[in-house]
């Protein structure tokens, strides 16, 4: 499917979704509450079949966080990007690790680096950071660490 067809199809699935213009791939903005439902449909719909989540990350915009999901279909080879705005003070979103298993590790990384709470995640613990770093959110722009960070 090309981007136009995808746009129509996704609008049908989730009428509240908005689309970004001028991006490399079709970019869809979704409310955090709708994300899991849409993701399930994207994975299961036989004409979409987004079975490969190749990148999951988070961006700190200082005022809010944005979760970014890059999806690919191994069958049709079309790509989309899902984005979801989160509140910076207590970010939370449904996990997608039940849809794509790779999200398990990627969400754990985002959890410790950005402090995003993934609801329903089976094993939300620190993966990369050592013990004692719970809740420190080192990848946020506001993070300061006078000992471990060297500014040039």
């Amino acid at each position: 499917m090309n981007n136009e067809e995808l746009k129509i199809k996704i609008s049908e699935l989730l009428p509240t979704a908005t689309f970004e213009e001028g991006t490399q791939w079709l970019t869809i903005n979704v409310a955090p509450g709708d994300l899991h439902l849409l993701a399930t449909q994207l994975r299961q719909d036989t004409s979409l079949f987004f079975d490969y989540l190749f990148c999951l990350t988070c961006i700190d915009w200082k005022t809010h966080l944005t979760m970014v999901y890059h999806l690919d279909s191994t069958k049709f080879r079309h790509n989309i990007v899902l984005k979801s705005k989160l509140d910076i003070s207590s970010p939370a979103i449904d996990t997608v690790s039940d849809i794509w298993k790779t999200a398990n590790f990627h969400e754990r990384e985002v959890y410790e680096m950005f402090g995003v709470n993934f609801l329903g995640h089976p094993d939300l613990r620190l993966l990369i950071l050592p013990d004692g770093w719970e809740g420190k959110r080192p990848m946020l722009k506001s993070f300061e660490d006078p000992i471990n960070m060297i500014r040039l």
Binding site: Q24, F54, V68, W100, L127, R151
Partner: protein, 371 residues
């Protein structure tokens, strides 16, 4: 006297494999639960070499941040640099000279061969055969010498820059690459004699670490790990960049889904890389090796994503720009991170000795996983 420690309530033993362990090739820490010799659970603990490269890159300019990526997957340093350079070029919307494109692809493929050579030796060493390690290094050193002559370094080259390559190829480059191809072809049969055909090796590999195609996709496995499960995932074929759409090569796929399939993918992939180099080495177009770029690079506001195929799988660079001289946010999608997440599923139910074979064929590079 001898105390009972580190056991689960069911009486299974918990063993720490790593962070200092001969088979983890770096500082990977796996906490495994075993019952006798049978693995029940594998739980990776990462971060022993985490340098937060993504955060570091936020304070480096678009020219500067590329060298850092050599330190991630140091065995695919060229390809990592290539991905970053491509992503910046995508943002700047500049077309690079065709000479630079061809040089980049040749370098990528040489890197891929060098990486697979090292993997071959190290994997055989994990299985207890030491000799292949030294034999693999003989060929790998030749590639390193070629790199040293043209790029000035053996491992962390920083050769790809936005707009092309940093320096033109050395006058000896073509001759030495051809010499290497001759050497490689005369030695590759030894690999089969020493390792591939060996009955002990085959028994250690076949049926070990089963990863179904569905799981491979779901876990985001790429590169030889996915190709060994028959999943077509070669970015060079699916989303061609540079001159990959103009050269003849096959995407190597095996359907065994086990460690032996992943092993064979890498061995056959080396031959495909040789094929690509053979097509290009005599056809490097004349012209500039670098496009004219401004002294200070500024990417327009927006998001840019570039996917490339490293020796380990799909490497992605995601740059979020606010229009300044430094990236606002960079995300590196490293292949090893996703491949490692499948290890638990692969290892459950197999023997402790198999874990080594599985880790060997996943070809884990720890700085690539930790970033």
């Amino acid at each position: 006297m001898v105390e009972e420690i580190g056991t689960t309530p069911e009486g299974d033993i918990i063993i720490n494999v790593g962070p200092q362990h001969p088979a983890t090739h770096g500082v990977l820490h796996l906490v495994i639960t075993i019952n006798g010799e049978t693995i029940k659970k594998v739980e990776p603990h990462l971060g022993y070499i985490h340098r937060s490269i993504e955060k570091m890159c936020e304070s480096l300019t678009y020219r500067q941040f590329i060298y850092v990526t050599s330190r991630m997957d140091y065995l695919s340093a060229h390809i990592n640099n290539h991905a970053c350079a491509l992503c910046v070029e995508k943002g700047l919307q500049i077309e690079i000279p065709s000479r630079a494109k061809v040089i980049r692809v040749i370098m990528d493929e040489l890197t891929r061969i060098a990486s697979h050579e090292l993997w071959w030796g190290a994997m055989a060493m994990d299985l207890g055969a030491f000799t292949p390690f030294f034999h693999a290094f003989r060929e790998r050193e030749t590639i390193n010498d070629i790199m040293e002559e043209t790029c000035g370094a053996r491992l962390t080259m920083n050769y790809m820059v936005p707009g092309g390559v940093m320096l033109d190829i050395h006058p000896n480059f073509q001759k030495r690459v051809k010499d290497f191809i001759t050497l490689y072809k005369s030695k590759i049969s030894e690999y089969d004699e020493l390792v591939t055909g060996n009955i002990i090796f085959q028994n250690r590999m076949k049926g070990v670490g089963y990863l179904s195609p569905e799981d491979a996709i779901s876990f985001g496995c790429t590169g030889p790990t996915a190709k060994g499960s028959g999943v077509s995932s070669d970015i060079r074929k699916l989303y061609p960049y540079e001159v990959y759409d103009q050269v003849q090569f096959d995407e190597v796929l095996e359907t065994g889904c086990d460690s032996f399939a992943r092993y064979m993918v890498r061995i056959r992939e080396m031959n495909q890389s040789i094929r690509i180099i053979e097509q290009l080495i005599d056809n490097i177009p004349e012209g500039d090796f670098q496009a004219k770029t401004k002294a200070v690079l500024k990417l327009p506001k927006g998001e840019f994503y570039q996917r490339v195929e490293t020796a380990r799988g799909e490497f992605g660079v995601y740059i979020v720009s606010e229009g300044g001289t430094t990236p606002y946010r960079i995300k590196f999608r490293s292949p090893g991170f996703s491949n490692l997440s499948a290890l638990d599923q692969m290892a459950r139910g197999s023997k402790l000795g198999d874990l080594v074979a599985m880790m060997g064929t996943l070809d884990l590079v720890i700085p690539d996983i930790d970033r």
